[in-house]
């Protein structure tokens, strides 16, 4: 209580200072400075911040967007890519969620690794507890790949807490629904690769661990998830079944979990292609399972060429919200752009950026649907990649192109040359398949903006790796103000828990 007058005084002073800042600046700064569009835009941004009221109330709904592998450099490059695709220079563009009022940096290390994988990072986000690599929503007291050790170490997730409160829940991913990020919301396992029973060890089966796909359908919390849309169909089908796109199931236990979904729930639907997805009536459907690929869904760049047709991440998000919003108690929805990570692993920046833009579009679709007075939206990443934006390219230089320096008011026609006499791209990787043993390739006659182009890399690895630097968190809606500064990744759970009163902890 003693600090209150001081805080109030400070706030009052800040507001007053901001309100008069332009006037004050006008008195001490020259007109060419204060009338600069940069200056006025910056001043407007601060004024908007000052005028913004914190929404400290409870939120009914929570939507957590995760861009797998979507580090800060990916966001920067994607915003430029999107802006240039719209005919602009690009740098000034903003992805949909970059307009959110609150942000923070998230420290992603896991209990045992400086650079994590998606399993412990998503576990941290949805349980509030960091764990070891490869484990999903079990504590680090477990031993990876050992079922027995995980018994009694299961960590309750935000999705499960939401179910307990009678909220509706959903997961969406362009990766397999059994992949680490979506799986951490509903499954508990000491081995992320136990996606189907055929992937499990004898020890795991004998000690009663269930595979991840089985947990999604048969061990679901509460009254079961209302929405599950993504890839991974083969993990839900018996190995005697060939699906509609010619792929074989991989379950050895004979369970058809797609059939179980429709049998277990009332008003349930299972769809596997765009046409079926489009035909789903959310007013009459209460449990929707969509599995659009035997494994991961297509990259956004390839989606139009899919055999059966796939909905976009934005389309899935929009339909999911329509269905989930029928519940007056609210909902918890997790949406993952799962293939940003895969494109980076392949050293293929173009596909990574296109999938990042697709995630931005999905966030935009959500913003168009929800009421931000009762919905907390969080956008973050689980980890970063060794992706860099380098050189001194001119403003508006194609982000996927070779570095061309500014030249007067234009862009130099000839590319900038490195010490080896060769041009280089703005985007690159510290390691990965784009590296070569020996001399670097001459890119002078190469179309580096082609979607198939693999950026050059320094260290030759067959698969580009994750990186350990912090990732960004963007938030809007009730409780979003709690994201400030640099936080541990597991704080994300606690903000959701606080804002939505999930009951995991009292603050």
């Amino acid at each position: 209580m003693k600090t209150l007058p001081h805080v109030l005084a400070a706030l009052t002073a800040a507001v007053a200072a901001a309100l008069v800042s332009q006037t004050a600046n006008a008195a001490v700064l020259p007109d060419y400075q204060t009338q600069s569009s940069w200056f006025t835009a910056g001043a407007d941004a601060v004024a908007a911040k000052v005028a913004q009221a914190r929404n400290t109330g409870s939120t009914k709904n929570v939507i957590l967007f995760v861009g797998d592998g979507m580090g800060v450099s990916t966001l920067t490059a994607a915003r430029i890519y999107q802006g240039q695709a719209a005919g602009h220079t690009g740098e000034e563009n903003r992805l949909s969620f970059e307009t959110f009022p609150y942000s923070a940096l998230s420290k992603t290390y896991s209990v045992n690794q400086q650079t994590p994988d998606s399993a412990p990072t998503m576990t941290a986000m949805v349980t509030g507890v960091k764990t070891e690599d490869g484990m999903l929503s079990v504590s680090s007291d477990s031993i990876r790949g050992n079922c027995l050790s995980s018994k009694g170490n299961e960590l309750k997730t935000a999705l499960e807490l939401a179910e307990d409160l009678g909220k509706s829940t959903g997961i969406i991913s362009t990766a397999r629904l059994t992949h680490a990020t979506p799986a951490a919301t509903y499954a508990h396992t000491p081995e992320r690769n136990w996606e189907a029973d055929s992937n499990m060890t004898t020890e795991a089966i004998n000690n009663g661990c269930h595979d991840i796909a089985y947990q999604l359908v048969m061990d679901a919390p509460g009254n079961g998830l209302e929405v599950a849309l993504g890839g991974g169909r083969s993990y839900f089908l018996p190995n005697t079944v060939t699906d509609g796109e010619g792929a074989t199931g991989r379950r050895a236990d004979g369970n058809d979990l797609t059939a179980a979904w429709t049998e277990n729930y009332s008003n349930a639907a299972y769809v596997w292609n765009q046409e079926q997805f489009d035909a789903v009536d959310t007013t009459t459907t209460d449990h929707l399972l969509g599995l659009f690929q035997s494994s991961h869904m297509q990259y956004e760049a390839d989606r139009a060429d899919d055999v059966g047709g796939e909905p976009s991440l934005a389309e899935m998000t929009s339909k999911a919200i329509d269905l989930l919003a029928k519940n007056d108690q609210g909902y918890f929805l997790m949406v993952e752009g799962g293939r940003i990570d895969h494109a980076h692993h392949a050293g293929n920046a173009s596909r990574a950026l296109q999938d990042t833009v697709a995630l931005s579009d999905a966030v935009k679709a959500a913003m168009d649907k929800v009421d931000l007075s009762d919905t907390l939206i969080i956008v973050t990443a689980d980890h970063s990649h060794t992706f860099t934006i380098a050189g001194y390219p001119a403003r508006g230089n194609p982000i996927l192109g070779l570095v061309h320096a500014p030249e007067d008011t234009t862009i130099a026609q000839d590319p900038t040359l490195a010490n080896d006499g060769l041009p280089y791209t703005t985007l690159g990787y510290a390691n990965g398949p784009g590296a070569k043993n020996g001399a670097r390739a001459d890119l002078s006659a190469v179309d580096t903006t082609d979607v198939e182009f693999l950026q050059q890399a320094q260290v030759p690895l067959s698969s580009e790796t994750h990186a350990a630097e912090d990732v960004a968190i963007y938030a809007t809606g009730p409780g979003a103000y709690l994201f400030q500064g640099s936080v541990e990744q597991n704080v994300i759970f606690h903000v959701m828990n606080q804002a939505a009163a999930l009951g995991g902890t009292k603050y």
């Binding site: 055999v307 070569k436 698969s463 790796t465 994750h466």
Partner: protein, 257 residues
């Protein structure tokens, strides 16, 4: 899909870095070894038009080795029994072929989906894969008449500075014998065994049981020793599309020599 013979050759070369198919068509490092005089085995008439069989090829010359071509309808696989490495294509959906790399000694598979193949810039032609990469070549050579086997034809000629002599089976739509000569160096592939359908099924069924990993997931499995080896020590996809390490040796298997 791009029909590019160069890509096809390079793709087939994933089985051997320094020998076999890669060497056959690069034709620049062969020892001057005369072709074997043995006649190729002739397919039985019952195989005419069959899409379910295998052919074992024997390579003679500077590189010695064995390569099996397995065919089961829209599926074609190339397998090197020496190092246990295979490549398995499925053209059931012709515009979206699936591709699997087989590592028999480790009993592991890497599965590639459409997006994976595109990110790796792997474009193949179904006719080239199914013809031992000889479909386009045959069209470049002169027809010399009937061959020594029933339903076989002889073609000969020069293509890209290499002299070819091809004994082509009309019934299998595959070479029975393929001899190359470049700067006096001779190399020969010869069908040495026709593999029955049951043998093909046995191999493919066995591979189907191997532990599989999506190519896209390799990067998330650095703790798996087999995959870590791929990530850190070889499996250079981008520049050469090859299952070999940076020293040019086939990964985790004996060399073809």
């Amino acid at each position: 899909m791009t029909l590019s013979p160069a890509h096809t050759w390079r793709n087939l070369a994933t089985l051997f870095k320094a020998g076999a198919l890669f060497g056959l068509f690069s034709a620049n490092a062969f020892a001057a070894v005369a072709a074997k005089a043995d006649s190729p085995i002739c397919p039985a008439a019952t195989l005419n038009g069959s899409q379910h069989f295998g052919v074992q090829y024997q390579l003679s010359g500077a590189q010695h080795g064995t390569l099996q071509l397995l065919r089961r309808q829209a599926q074609t696989a190339y397998f090197n029994p020496g190092n246990g490495v295979g490549e398995w294509w499925n053209f059931s959906v012709a515009e979206h072929p699936s591709f699997i790399r087989v590592f028999a000694k480790q009993q592991r598979r890497i599965d590639y989906y459409m997006g994976d193949l595109r990110t790796l810039n792997i474009h193949v032609s179904q006719p080239e894969i199914e013809s031992f990469a000889a479909a386009h070549l045959r069209s470049q050579l002169r027809h010399k008449g009937a061959g020594s086997c029933a339903d076989s034809q002889v073609y000969e000629g020069d293509y890209q500075q290499v002299h070819y002599r091809l004994l082509w089976s009309d019934s299998l739509q595959l070479p029975l014998q393929l001899t190359t000569e470049h700067k006096g160096q001779i190399k020969q592939w010869q069908a040495s065994k026709i593999m029955p359908a049951r043998e093909v099924d046995m191999l493919l069924s066995r591979w189907q049981q191997f532990a599989d990993t999506d190519y896209a997931d390799i990067g998330d499995n650095e703790t798996d020793p087999f995959l870590a080896q791929m990530i850190n020590q070889g499996f250079i996809e981008h520049s050469e599309h090859a299952v070999y390490n940076s020293n040019g040796q086939p990964m985790s298997g004996q060399h073809i020599h």
